[in-house]
């Protein structure tokens, strides 16, 4: 069966520090991969999605970037975090276009 792993679960970072969040999927090949952000009490905002290695689409201009160095690995990064980057970051994967997206457990990021 397929599983998705996301880490860390919780992260507290100072403003201006770098960020690296990792997500890996097991049990499937060539998944579509996604990064979402959920601000407190709000809906999900799609940040990036990827349909293949080194194929990244950005949905929202910001100081975040994403990379997919391997088929089942998706990384969310920032060189300098802003206060507004706080939130709950969720990684997700899907197999085919009409299949649901399956979410990781999320990373709760607090910027101080």
């Amino acid at each position: 069966s397929q599983t998705i792993h996301q880490w860390p679960a919780t992260l507290v970072q100072p403003v201006g520090s770098p960020l690296s969040l990792e997500c890996t999927v097991e049990g499937t090949s060539n998944p579509n991969l996604y990064w979402y952000r959920q601000a407190a009490g709000r809906g999900l905002q799609l940040l990036f999605y990827s349909i293949g290695i080194d194929q990244i689409s950005s949905e929202v201009p910001q100081n975040l970037s994403a990379s997919r160095p391997q088929d089942r690995q998706f990384i969310l990064s920032s060189k300098k975090l802003l206060l507004s980057d706080s939130g709950f970051y969720l990684c997700a994967w899907s197999a085919y276009s009409n299949q649901p997206q399956h979410f990781g457990d999320g990373t709760r990021l607090s910027i101080l």
């Binding site: 579509n32 949905e59 276009s97």
Partner: protein
Amino acid sequence: ELKVEQNPLFLSMQEGKNYTIYCNYSTTSDRLYWYRQDPGKSLESLFVLLSNGAVKQEGRLMASLDTKARLSTLHITAAVHDLSATYFCAESGGSNYKLTFGKGTLLTVNP
């Protein structure tokens, strides 16, 4: 721009009662998804609706899709406390890859 609107955004109901959450979307897509999110947790897929008239049921929850009206409903029957969560609908807007989520409906079931 694809819009997905849920209502109500907040719903407080008593155990044993029935209620419906509505999800309106702005495109002609025929794919609609419902998710559940418990407080502080991730999202769990509930239903996938892939055609006009599709109806799916799981326990006390039933989801339906009317693509002509661009409307999906999530009906709750005889609510129990364990159903308390935030429910999201999401729609693909014709994209093979992306979903647009509604703002979510925070459901609280009171004993």
